[in-house]
């Protein structure tokens, strides 16, 4: 047994209202730069729907993830090492920008520059890829939001095609939910396996999958390798980029930006311990429907003293083991068994799991005039509403309805049980027993899913104590990818001598960083001069006289800068009065 720890996430889909706040804040943080205009590390899809990029789940087309060979060996579905290198000059499995969407901006200047006339000026859309005017915007990352264009596009949902149900139009009225997606930070990541440069790696300490921007050579195989299409190609820097699980935040114990800003509070972050030795065998489980139980079996019970001892021996820090014991993610996945992995059939052992949505079922019963919160009605509906269950099963369990039904039944039982308490009716232990729980366990699950506070939803140990000094500074000085032209929030104008974003990175937060460091490590006042004449007042500690903070004072004269400025101002009233005269006339 080789114990490894990973930070992972569970999302409760029942609570997602599809507001896209997570997507927007993530984009603001990570991908609001040229080259990644089309990239959403976090996106929210309406289901049924095509997703982003369009039909990414069609692995017969994109060939992401892993496949089992006839001899039971795991190889990337797009082909092994030789095949990957053979297609390095042109990769037919690489999505085109139009499979995502053509990013655009608007000609805002037209609103200001157009001469006065009878018609209102219009800010026409302009492509950010070709710079040309676009006649029509025809697609985006969530164009089919809320089933938009559904009659036209319903046949394009890969999952729906697989369940081949005839009752599709009914489904439009009864069954819709949102699926927020980030990188899965898989245990068996096929993007890492596809990277010819070895630039992609899984971090030992917390399992986060990252791209080494200095080693990435833009061979673009990772985009093909990832079945979730959560690897992106920055078309200006020519490097791969992906969701970082906001590692600079995680390292200091803060949740990811998408979690922090989630208005529905539906995300949970915690530590999972797993047995890395058994991971390859689990990923190579022959039957696709057995992949979910196989992965579940990898997770180690942090309450087991043997596991804790093994984790300690494997060098996992003590506070990580403690965090694993309080992990909301472990509880939702293993203790309550209500969270399921997304597309386990890709064999990547994904580590962002989902609590399937019960609300569509409740709504369907209520709409038909029955009591939507009675557990017997709910149980019956879960059995008979075959479409939602088989759809969810295609998403979460490779088509096996049993785990989905069990999860939905537990959610239904919780709902009925809590309603009785709410209405002052006596507690019925039969409800909990019907899903294999006792009343305490059902109440604990209710607490975690409904009331859990910030500290309970996000149990994130900081990085190892020995690293704390450096991590403090990481958090204070911004993200380590944060430099001009780099993958962080860099400037847009700079272009190095060898094309876009070449040259030594010049940290944008450099003044903050240096001033803080100097103040922390020296006994004299922070020298804020020399930073291109700019002063960051947030950093200025009042000591010293930074250049540029006060107006220039002329040498040798009694009249200082203030007076000079007064004279300058003196010229202005004339202008103002001139305008005033015009106004009066």
């Amino acid at each position: 047994m080789r114990v490894m720890a990973q930070i992972c996430m569970v999302m409760n889909l029942d609570k997602c209202i599809g507001c896209h706040t997570c997507s927007v804040t993530c984009k603001q943080t990570w991908t609001s730069r040229p080259g990644v205009e089309y990239v959403w590390f976090n996106n929210v899809e309406t289901r049924p729907g095509q997703g982003y990029p369009r039909r990414y789940e069609d692995q017969e087309r994109w060939r992401g993830g892993w496949k089992l060979t006839a001899r039971g060996r795991l190889v990337p579905k797009a082909g092994g090492r030789m095949r990957r290198l053979a297609s390095i000059f042109a990769n037919p499995l690489l999505p085109n920008i139009r499979d995502y969407y053509e990013p655009w901006t608007y000609d805002y200047n037209a609103l200001f520059d157009t001469p006065a006339g009878d018609d209102f000026p219009v800010a026409a859309p302009r492509s950010l890829i070709s710079g040309e005017r676009m006649d029509n915007i025809t697609w985006s990352a969530n164009w089919d939001d809320n089933l938009g264009g559904m009659p036209q596009h319903e046949g394009d949902d890969v999952v729906l095609q697989r369940i081949q149900d005839k009752v599709r139009m009914e489904l439009e009225q009864t069954f819709m939910f949102y699926l927020p997606r980030i990188c899965e930070h898989c245990i068996n990541p096929s993007c890492v396996a596809s990277c010819p440069s070895g630039a992609l790696y899984k971090r030992v300490e917390d399992g986060i999958v990252l791209v080494d921007q200095d080693r990435c050579r833009g061979w673009r195989m990772c985009v093909t390798g990832c079945p979730y299409k959560k690897m992106y190609f920055n078309h200006r820097t020519g490097k791969a980029e992906k969701c970082t699980f906001c590692f600079p935040r995680i390292e200091v114990g803060q949740p990811t930006v998408c979690s922090e800003t989630c208005v529905g509070r539906l995300r949970y972050i915690g530590v999972l311990l797993y047995d890395a030795d058994r991971a390859p065998a689990a990923a190579a489980t022959p039957r696709e429907q057995d992949l979910y139980p196989a992965q579940l079996d990898l997770f180690l019970n942090p309450h087991d003293p043997d596991v804790r001892r093994a984790a300690e021996a494997a060098g996992i820090p003590h506070d990580w083991i403690q965090a694993a014991r309080r992990s909301p993610v472990y509880d939702l996945i293993a203790t309550y068994g209500v969270a399921l992995p997304l597309h386990p059939e890709y064999r990547t052992l994904p580590m962002v799991w989902y609590v399937p949505p019960l609300s569509p079922v409740v709504e369907a019963i209520t709409a038909s005039g029955h009591d939507g919160e009675d557990y017997r009605n709910l149980f019956g509906a879960i059995d008979t509403l075959r479409i939602p269950v088989s759809y969810l099963a295609e998403l979460f369990t490779a088509g096996d309805p049993a785990p989905v039904e069990l999860a939905l039944r537990r959610l239904a039982a919780m709902r009925s049980h809590r309603r009785r308490i709410n209405l002052g009716e006596p507690v019925d232990p039969e409800i909990a027993a019907s899903v294999g729980f006792d009343v305490e366990k059902l109440d604990a699950m209710f607490r975690l899913l409904s009331l859990a506070k910030y500290e309970e939803r996000y149990v994130i140990p900081t990085a190892a104590a020995g690293d704390v000094r450096s991590l403090e500074e990481t958090a204070l000085s911004g993200c380590s990818l944060d430099y001009e032209g780099g993958p962080g929030m860099g400037g847009t104008e700079s272009s190095g001598p060898f094309g876009e974003a070449s040259g030594r990175p010049a940290p944008q937060a450099v003044e903050t960083f240096h001033v803080l460091r100097q103040r922390q490590t020296s006994e004299s006042a922070a020298d804020t001069s020399g930073h291109e004449g700019r002063i960051n007042l947030l950093n200025w500690d009042g000591r010293g006289l930074p250049e540029g903070l006060f107006p220039y004072r002329a040498k040798g004269g009694a009249r200082g800068g203030q007076v000079d400025r007064g004279e300058d101002l003196g010229a202005e009233p004339g202008e103002i009065s001139e305008r005033g005269e015009r106004g009066e006339s």
Binding site: A90, G198, R469, S470, T521
Partner: protein, 244 residues
């Protein structure tokens, strides 16, 4: 008669070019790892690239192999294994012409695509255009040399060009050998040397990180945070960082 210009071109320029290549690569690797990429434009357009790029790259690899064979294998060696000069030059020329035409067609397609596809043209830097001039010049001259050789058939470059190249490696450049070769060989050699010199400063550097090691590594890569990066505050004299 060896002129000073010959001495410079065939005795000094190769060393200058290689020196710029090597120092340039080292310098770029240290200075600009982030800019060291293929800068692929496949995301924008793949229909033409799907043909042009493999044609160009595979053709170029064959051309490269041909140069290595022709310049580094002495004719005595090939004769020793029973390949006559006629057979050798027939093979070399036919393979050379085929690979050259393939490469040339590939780059023509790629340059045309670059010019006519809006997004790709927009992503083309001044540096790229500069690089294309030298790359296409070297390819054109090389293909022209091969074609001239194929049409006349009475010049054997292994008599003087190849020994000259080999003599460079022992630092005894035999300038006279190269100075007497036909003009097209000399121009092509210069264009090739200049191309060597500009490689580190263009996107062509990606060739030097061809991912051969991918064939020999396990699929999944694990990495730990670098312990050397722990703590950025300078240590004061007499203090030692705690291991806790």
């Amino acid at each position: 008669m060896i002129s000073p210009v010959d001495v410079f071109l065939w005795g000094a320029l190769p060393y200058i070019a290689v020196a710029i290549l090597v120092t340039g690569l080292i310098w770029r690797y240290r200075y600009d790892k982030f800019g060291w990429t293929t800068r692929s434009s496949e995301l924008y357009e793949s229909r033409l690239l799907r043909w042009g790029s493999p044609m160009f790259h595979i053709g170029l690899l064959v051309v490269l192999m041909g140069h290595l064979l022709g310049l580094f294998i002495p004719d005595s060696w090939t004769a020793a294994i029973g390949v006559s000069e006629t057979v050798y030059s027939f093979l070399a020329i036919s393979l050379g012409v085929a690979a050259g035409v393939l490469t040339y067609a590939g780059i023509a397609l790629l340059v045309w695509r670059r010019r006519t596809t809006g997004p790709v043209f927009l992503a083309t830097t001044v540096n790229d255009k500069f690089m294309y001039v030298f790359l296409v010049a070297a390819l054109t001259l090389g293909l022209a040399t091969t074609l001239i050789n194929a049409s006349t058939l009475h010049y054997n470059y292994r008599v003087d060009v190849s020994p000259w190249v080999r003599s460079l490696f022992v630092f005894q450049p035999e300038v006279a050998l190269m100075a007497r070769t036909p003009i097209e060989y000399r121009i092509h050699a210069i264009s090739g040397l200049v191309l060597f010199a500009i490689v580190p400063f263009t996107r062509l550097v990606h060739a030097f990180t061809a991912p051969v090691h991918y064939l020999f590594r396990p699929y999944i890569v694990y990495r730990a945070r670098d312990p050397r990066n722990i703590g950025t505050a300078a240590l004061r004299p007499g203090w030692k960082r705690s291991d806790v």
